[in-house]
């Protein structure tokens, strides 16, 4: 290969390396999975009357207040973290964010009118929530080629179907179990993966 061709090949390799480097940049987001898992548990405990006190006694407020509060907290913290972090938003990052935003809006658009109209059946609501969560996990998992997240989607869908066939208690147990595996366990696992990736990137850039 001539020197000129060698240089042209190096230019092409440089482009490929830099594009891949840019796409590998990550911001920390796994904490949101755990946060929402905890929020679901709080909402369930509040609506079931496990939390006492004058405020916690308003059971009908449990889901709207917890969900809107958690959404505001997620939005505030994520905005602050993204602004202070050096890693830029990638195309894949934007795609994943759009999936979860659309899922969240769909959930509010479905559950709020269901609750206000008085047509909310607990088992149907659980099935709707977990099916939407399954959809968002599946879409993210397919995009990231992440088998663990696709497995979470399957767990959500199975819990959704199970909640319609069992009793109210069984439906609640299925929901609690799915939250534990798909939000708490998977969220902690995702946080560990993020830490490893950031350490690896730090070592590579050192």
């Amino acid at each position: 290969m001539s020197a000129e061709n060698q240089e042209l090949t190096e230019r092409l390799e440089l482009i490929e390396t830099m594009i891949a480097e840019g796409r590998r940049s990550t911001t920390r987001w796994a904490w949101t999975i755990v946060l929402w898992g905890v929020a679901f548990y709080v909402a369930i405990a509040w609506s079931s009357g496990f939390l006492g006190g004058p405020i916690w006694g308003q059971h009908y407020m449990a889901w709207p207040v917890t969900m809107i509060g958690t959404w505001l907290l997620t939005w505030g913290l994520a905005t602050r973290m993204r602004q202070s972090a050096k890693a830029p938003m990638t195309t894949v990052g934007r795609a994943i964010m759009s999936i979860w935003t659309a899922m969240g809006i769909s959930m509010f658009a479905l559950l709020l009118p269901l609750g206000l109209s008085g047509r909310a059946d607990q088992q149907v609501c659980v099935a709707a929530v977990v099916t939407l969560l399954g959809m968002a996990n599946a879409a993210s998992g397919i995009l990231l080629k992440w088998k663990a997240q696709i497995a979470c989607a399957v767990v959500w869908w199975v819990a959704g179907s199970a909640s319609l066939f069992g009793s109210v208690t069984q439906s609640t147990i299925a929901f609690l179990a799915a939250i534990f595996f798909c939000q708490i366990v998977f969220g902690i696992y995702a946080m560990i993966c993020e830490s490893r990736e950031q350490r690896r990137q730090g070592a590579a850039n050192a």
Binding site: R11, L12, L14, G22, R23, M89, T91
Partner: protein, 101 residues
Amino acid sequence: MPEMPELNPVIHGKLRLALLSLLSGVDEAEFTWLREKTGSTDGNLGAQLMKLEEAGYVAMKKRFVLRKPQTLYRMTEKGRVALTEYVSALKELLGNAVISG
């Protein structure tokens, strides 16, 4: 004999090419992130980014986050077209080299 494509001299510089390639995969990037990824010095990086900005290939904006200044760069549509054309020309040149070689 077919006419050989010309390589855009603004993009052909190694650092400028690396910067445009990095910016092609992200929405916008901070100056310090670009410096970290390219391993360049502040002065050289600033000068090369200014050349890209003058050519209209990147756009710059400044903002304050937590009272600290941040300089952000993003690739413009003109820059994206220029990089695409550059890669096509590069591949064509290498293709011709393989055929003639």
